[in-house]
Structure formats: C-alpha cells, structure tokens
Symmetry: C2
Subunit: 296 residues, 2 copies
C-alpha cells in the first residue's frame, strides 16, 4: 500500500476530524439548546486543525488506533477552541473576527461566550476520559492535557502575555511566554498522539519533546510574521493586531528577515528530532514544513 | 472510639481541606506568580466547603481513604470556586463582593479573573487525574466530574439561568435549572466521596442520587430564602440580588412560608434516602440538617 500524498492525508484528517468533533459535541437539539448551538459554532467548520494533525502524525509513529486518535485530537481541539473564545472576549483581546466569522461573544453575547469556553473545557476532559486505552495510560493522557491547559501551560502563557503588553521583553522571555501559551498544547498534541499507540520510552518522549518544542516555536514565529505581513482577508482574523496592541513579537524584536531565518532553523531542528523514527516520522516532518510555509 | 460531635467533625474537615487545597494549588512563588496568587485568592480562606463536606460524609459510608477524599473534594471545590469567579464577572452577575471579600475581577482585573477560572478548571481535572484509586475507577470519577461541570451540568444550568432573567418560570423549570446549576456538582460530590471507597452498586447509586437530589434542591431553596431575608453582612455576598435582578426564585414563586415548608420536606426526603446505610449515613443526615438550618 503506497503512502497517500501529504495534501490528501491532511484533507482526510481534517474532514474526519470535522465529523468526530460534531459527534463529540452535544447535539444542538439537546437542552440547553442555545449553549450547545454556540459551542458547536465555536468549534465546527473552522481552523486548520493543526493540533489534530499533530495528534494523527504522531500516532502514525506507533500505528495508534484511529478511534483513539480522533478522541485525543477532539479533546485537544476543544481546549484550543475554548481558549480562542475566551481570548477574543472584550476583557482580553477584544476581537470581532475569527476564522472569517463573527467571534462567539459578538454572535451570542459575552455571558454565553464565557459559558461556551467553560463548557468546552469540561467537554474536552469528558471526551478524553471516555477513551478506550488501557486505564492507567488514559489517566496519564488526562494529566498531560490538564497540565498543558492550565496555569503552568496555556493559561499561564496567556497570563504572561497579558502582563507583557507594552513591555520590552527579551527574546528569552518571549520564547518562555510562547512555550506556555501555544507550545504546551502543541506538545500535548504530539505526545497524546504517540501515547494513543503505546506507553513511550524516555528516549521517545525526549525526541518528541524536541520536535514539539521546535514546531511550537516555529508556529509562533510564523504567526508573528503573518500578523505583520498578511492581510485580514487571507488571515481570517484581524491582521496587524499585535503591533496595534503594542505586543512584543518576534518581528518586533528580531525584524522580518531574522524571523524568517529563525523559522527555517526551527524547521531543521524539527526534522532532526524525529530522525530516530525513520520513515514513520514522515507526517511529522511534513507538518513541520507546513507550519513554516503556511500563508495564513 | 466514639464518634466526634458533628460540629467538631465539620471543623476538622474544613481545616484539613484548607491545607489540602493549599497543597493542590500551584505555589504563589511559582511563575506566573500573579495568576497563581489570584487562583489562591479565589479558592483559599473562604466558603463553607459544603461540597468537600459532602465528599467526606459520603466517603464515611464505605471507609474511603482520607487522602483520596481530600483529592476528590479538592477537585470539586476548585470547580465550584472557578464557577464563582466567572459568575461574579461583569458580563454575568457583576458582583463586587464574595465571601466578604472583593471578587477576583475587582481585585485583579477582568482578564486575570477569566484566566483564573479557566486555570482552576484545568487544575481540578489535573488533581483528580493524579488520584491513586484503581485506574478504571479513577477514570469514572473524572467522567462524573466533567459531566457535572459542563453543558449538561453546572454550565448548562447557568445558561438556563441567563436565559430565564425576567421570565415567569414554572416551578418545574426552576427546579430543572437548579438541578443543573448547583445540583449536578452537589450530586457529584456525594458520588465521588462514595466512589473513593469502592465501586457502587446500582442500588447504592440510586440511594445516593435520591439523597443528593433532595439536598441539592434544599440548598437552593434555602439560598433563595436567605437572599430574601438575610442581610449582606451575614451573607458575605450581596443580599436581595435576585429580586433586584428580576430572577425567578422559590420565594418569588412559592412565597416565604411555602418555601420553608418545602425545605423541611426535602430534609425528610434526604434522611429517608440514606436509611439503607444505617449508622454510616450519620454525617450525610447531619449535613442535610445543616443545609436546611444554615443562616448564611
């Protein structure tokens, strides 16, 4: 059986993910209907599904069962989606546009947006706790996702981000912020995908950690480059927002050319990190390329 | 060994709970410090710890290990605390006072309050996922807490509450709202405590469900009575708020006397529900009494 082209594999994951997420979310017909409609609006029909792609790419290392991968990917994507809903609220980034559509608080009101985010987080843990992996391994996956989401992960990174507005951050501080804000959940995606296949050795964890660190940082560097260079229509969210908000970015600290060089270096780091997995690491290498080359 | 008096038992649980929560929360010295300080502010030194008391009282049915009870109780209390932080925000109830202290958003700002609630929810699942019960049982506990917290539990009840402002709710609708908004987490407290001891039979689950339903509803009826009759100093939160917000309550629908009679009836229901457990049900019966007789 020949390996499908990357583009086809990616479309396959994205479209099966859409179906899985639709299944993992409460039905719109179930009460409270408006909350469920808003939760589905926040999650479905949008995004590049980078985290689910990482879950599936890492799962390919150890031939993980597709149903377990869909479950882990669904949980991570719901955490990501909830963070976007809260991040867009007026007391945070106050953004009206997300993935080319009105943000949840614009469409449903602030109180509902708050509850949508809260309920999506619970739903993510519910979905993951319903997994069929060996129970001790499933529990380890829950600990990983919870730690990556909370105050020493994503939420912690957002808190540092909040505190950094208007400050002249060093490159190290900026990296630390992003390692938590976006890196923690990207790392969790990679490790969860692999854990869907088997319990990892220390060497495997270290290799995947190195890959995730490089890809996570590359993701953010490219985000900053796109925020500075792309326009709102292509991006599907408000461009130039970081500069307008006076937020430190890779582009503001390093400039555009050095930021591009850094992204290239990180792509190389990511490729090297997964060399020990040989051919099974193909999807992870291709995803590193996608993350560096993306235009939106 | 004679059984300690109820008051002593309660004070013992409350004070050991304070220590457990302090241990389960990230240290204030760990970065991001401000977020961790605000999380601790939201959880520590406050509240009657009704949910932890229910966890420990139900744990007494099956001689559950104290360390596991503390863990389950800590997780439930963090979920409860996060819901209060978000509930108090301007886009929800807009309350400045909680447990006699400024609310989190008043003290730390809205953006931090949003993140505090989000991070406390993650922390609750992290703490519960670190439990030492047999892994399959621990997973079942995580599913229970996640379902009780999310859109078909607490968040769902809050969504119905939001939608009900200014509406003439029937008694059935009001009960359904509270069954989700506060009842789901109270029920989870009772079941989690019992599960810390052993996997439950269907009959045991049914008995505890009946107890939790009665106590959960009694809790809300008494809340409504206190909101209508107590003053802000005693209550530690703004009194008379429901009437001011034009929210339907038991008092607004049934009147004060019938509300008091309903609370008494529910106390009797709760006592009867735990009769099958004999002497081991003492703490659960005493808690039902406390919930009905409380003055704040």
């Amino acid at each position: 059986m020949s390996t499908p082209a990357f583009g086809d594999w990616m479309k396959g994951v994205q479209s099966s993910m859409e179906q899985s997420l639709a299944d993992f979310l409460p039905a719109e017909s179930a009460p409270p209907q408006q909350l469920h409609a808003a939760m589905r609006y926040a999650v479905l029909d949008g995004g590049k599904r980078v985290r689910p792609l990482l879950v599936f790419a890492a799962g390919a290392l150890f031939a993980a069962p597709a149903a377990e991968l869909a479950r882990a990917a669904g949980a991570v994507e719901m955490i990501h989606a909830y963070s976007l809903v809260h991040d867009d609220m007026p007391c945070m980034d106050d953004d009206a546009l997300r993935r080319g559509k009105p943000t949840v608080h614009v469409k449903y009101g602030e109180a509902t947006a708050l509850l949508v985010g809260d309920a999506l987080q619970s739903q993510a843990f519910l979905v993951l706790a319903e997994g069929d992996a060996e129970p001790a391994r499933q529990l380890a996956m829950l600990r990983l996702l919870a730690a990556a989401s909370g105050s020493i992960g994503m939420c912690g990174g957002q808190a540092i981000d909040l505190a950094s507005v208007g400050l002249a951050l060093s490159l190290d501080d900026l990296e630390q912020m992003h390692r938590l804000k976006t890196g923690a959940l990207l790392r969790a995606s990679v490790l969860l995908g692999a854990w869907c296949g088997k319990a990892l050795t220390e060497a495997e964890t270290a290799a995947l950690d190195a890959y995730a660190a490089a890809v996570g940082l590359a993701f953010q560097v490219v985000d900053d480059i796109l925020d500075a260079t792309a326009d709102t229509t292509v991006l599907g969210k408000t461009a130039g927002k970081d500069a307008a908000d006076n937020k430190p970015t890779y582009v503001s600290i390093l400039g555009l050319e050095q930021s591009r060089a850094l992204a290239e270096k990180l792509r190389g780091d990511a490729h090297r990190a997964v060399q020990p997995f040989g051919d099974q690491g193909l999807r992870l290498r291709q995803l590193a390329d996608l993350i560096v080359e993306r235009q939106s």
